[in-house]
Symmetry: C2
Subunit: 402 residues, 2 copies
Amino acid sequence: MAFIVQKFGGSSVANAERIWRVAGIIADTYSENNDIVVVLSAQGDTTDDLIEKAKEINPRPSKREMDVLMSTGEQMSIALMAMALEKMGLPVISLTGWQIGMQTNSVYGNARIKKVSCDRIRNELDKRRIVIVAGFQGVNKYDDITTLGRGGSDTTAVAIAAAMNANLCQIYTDVEGVYTCDPRKVPGARKLEEITYDEMLELASLGSQVLHNRSVEMAKRYNVNLEVLSSFVRKPGTKVKEVTKMEQTKISGIAKDTNVARIALIGVKDEPGVAFKVFRVLAKQKINVDIILQSIGHDETQDISFTVAKNDMEEATAALREQQDIIGFRDLSVTDKIAKVSMVGAGMVNSSGVAVQMFEALYAAKINIHMISTSEIKVSVLVNESEADRAIQAIHAKFFET
Amino acid sequence: MAFIVQKFGGSSVANAERIWRVAGIIADTYSENNDIVVVLSAQGDTTDDLIEKAKEINPRPSKREMDVLMSTGEQMSIALMAMALEKMGLPVISLTGWQIGMQTNSVYGNARIKKVSCDRIRNELDKRRIVIVAGFQGVNKYDDITTLGRGGSDTTAVAIAAAMNANLCQIYTDVEGVYTCDPRKVPGARKLEEITYDEMLELASLGSQVLHNRSVEMAKRYNVNLEVLSSFVRKPGTKVKEVTKMEQTKISGIAKDTNVARIALIGVKDEPGVAFKVFRVLAKQKINVDIILQSIGHDETQDISFTVAKNDMEEATAALREQQDIIGFRDLSVTDKIAKVSMVGAGMVNSSGVAVQMFEALYAAKINIHMISTSEIKVSVLVNESEADRAIQAIHAKFFET
């Protein structure tokens, strides 16, 4: 007997047939004498439908009222799932964010969890009930409804698992686990049995859609055993843990992120404070900057290049142009026809030459590298967007298919 | 400046255009410097859509989970209305049943209000905000979501008006007020300026769809000034009060109810305890009985006739047949091809001959009366269903069109 938290995403509960399939998974886990808390997202298109409804009334509604609206989506899911389990004759109860005491701060639309008071859930589990919880939502100190933003339901699941010392937190999605590369792009991609939190974090932030960073970070902090698996195929998925087996591959995955634009400031004065002036402008606009590259100065000027998300590109460019005199740059060049290709692996740090092998693979494929960024467990390169798929295929072949 | 509670039903907020119209009414009321609490139902077909979704999963879901599901409907309405008012630049906040402390008992699907703790609403009104409240829903002592059953949003509005001593509770519907008769059936029907609680109660229970009995009963008990008016036409509606003007008409309205079936037990022994035996059987099945008529006995037997709602007819008949030996009746006759036509008016009790005038009108129209029932402010007759419309027209002409 174990205490298991299971999270099912929107596509896993999109319609009656899928709800039934998920109910089957839950019922099987329950019949093995486990305590189960199930966390659900809103059904398939519900979120989009609700946004559509709101925009029809007000294109810029307050985030507080959006959260009141959006949180109905998960509430529908939990009621419907409870009804499916009732039909199977199982003891079950659905609970919303405020009912489980999911306390958050007051940043509507992107709230952070402060505390989960688990009394109600514990109480229901003690009655041997399956507890179905609405993901993505909480309440702030004013008793107003908040939502957790992207990846919110994953975070709900991990937070409950952490607060209640669950033995396992299973994240069910529409893929079978974490792959060495996107299987739709690289046919040779294979599923990883295990991966460390840090590797998962790098993969998540590099465009792998499986798990959101926030949930992985929280799992790492509270040492929650995660498993990523499919709600469509009954197979073991990928385990995310602190330490994985000794014989792990050096490289755990290759990821591609096309949501990247590069801005280059050319002819910036080579003097102290320049980087501060540039990035202060962007910070004021709340624009996140990813890779930064500062060239070595010559002729008393230098170039500063960096990447931002595609939809921040125009705002960033406009803000910088406005401050051109204060920052002092000669020219600004910008492109969004690029992609970031990254290789992640905890084994990398102790193994010289891994980055070199990656560059070699790209050279052999005649792919030009625009920027390079490295960390202890990651190497990222910027390449032309049109060459990104070929790039991940070449790198994957080099490391996994020989 | 006054404190006004405004309630808008599902058809008044069915789509974006109607939400805008209602927002206009609210904005005007606010601009006259009033404190406003707005109570909303779920949008148009939302309730039916949610029931449909549930039935697809489980034809007989628990009422607790149905309430979790159904309560999302009003939550969507309040968020959307708040967004419309935000667009107009008005200060507004939406609140759910649990957020306003709408405490109910635990009868899921048909809960009774126990208490409204008005702190949150008062707090928001003090900030000069328009408060938009989800009707129809509350929480029980376990912090579980409940719904109030039929007419629930009207009841929410009246309960808040009562608890907070509002000056007026306006119930906006798709009709312009309370009429002397159904205007679709009787072209000469006219809107009443005023009506007493008791008259409204009789009209409501007699098939007039304007207000649900529970809300009128509560308004009477706490002396809440009600007004029924249209959200489509900006005109004064009908005021419902304790005492109306002296010069009121004796008759306030004529109503027709076709949801009636008559059951007659023939040849019942004329001895004590018979009525008890008959109606105990029906009470056990939770079947409500309306008009009861016990004939004067002759030859040591008598007949007992009574009416029930049409959808209780078969169950009632079956239950009585099963107990035929114990009750001791010779025969049972049943029909649902009948209708109840009623005349309501507080003036009636002090004015002899009103009932006689009603019978005279029916006689002139050659309409046969099957049963008669009277109260202090009401006379009801049972007629053939096919003659019901002619009956209300004839009575209306007699009292209102001369």
